[in-house]
Point group: C2
Chain length 130, copies 2
DNA sequence: TCTGCAAGTATACAAAAGTATACTGATATA
DNA sequence: TATATCAGTATACTTTTGTATACTTGCAGA
């Protein structure tokens, strides 16, 4: 068997996603990446805001209810470090700083759709039997 | 406009998932449900184990490296409360207790696939440019 | 009777995540 | 000159999460 990447193997359907949930390190790492990007009290509101449109720090503070400067700053740094958010410095006077999602960040939209779908289905099932 | 459920509206494509990420309470709650079920250090290992097969407490302890009784117990209770895990008491002597995923729990498989997919794509993009 | 498993509980502690509040330094506007 | 905005930092504190370790009750087998 040729030595190809996991991603290629998946594309080629040599590996079927459903059958390997309990498996290799790379997969665990990938899932963890995704969950780290999504968890904590403020990640979702921040990503949600930026999915709507790119914004400046102060605008985000107004948009996201109850968030403090400290948390917004902290979370934005983390998201930037994880390659989900881009901090763009525009060379006006005074400088304008804009936060926007990277391509990866944008593609979280699909993940969130799936999560939302599950959540709605789950609530239906759960509350109908309870 | 008739008064129909949100889920129906989505099915009927009167609402498009992409356009309402920053919107109604029900949606925020649903996404939160899903994330609560997935976050914390041990939720994923536990769900992963149970996706593989139903298990008893002691078997889970052996299967999941480093988890303590306290954490396993705590997390299982929470997952049960959230309708993701079922605790089945089998009336043998002595009684046998088995943990298994509910239908909702099983359907997390699809969500995890999507998350995994994003994680792999993200790692690719991220490490190729760094 | 002694040992050990099963399915946890109890207590104490450490570390991570989040909150509250005040402050900066540079620029812009009244 | 006084005030306000922007893009954050700094410090101290509380809450939530997770760890370590020991213990419990009921039964089974040697």
């Amino acid at each position: 068997m040729k030595d190809i990447s996991i991603e290629q193997a998946i594309k080629d359907e040599q590996i079927n996603l459903k059958d390997i949930k309990s498996c290799p390190v790379q997969f665990v790492l990938a899932v963890n990446d995704a969950l780290n990007v999504l968890t904590g009290k403020w990640k979702l509101p921040i990503i949600g805001a930026l999915l709507f449109k790119s914004m400046r720090f102060s605008e985000m503070k107004k948009t996201i209810p109850k968030i403090t400067s400290r948390m917004l700053s902290k979370e934005l740094k983390e998201l930037e470090l994880n390659g989900v958010v881009k901090r763009v410095v525009d060379d006006t006077t005074p400088v304008t700083i804009t936060y926007q999602l990277t391509d990866s960040g944008m593609s979280l939209n699909g993940v969130l759709d799936k999560i939302l779908e599950w959540g709605l289905g789950h609530r239906n099932e759960f509350f109908s039997q309870a």
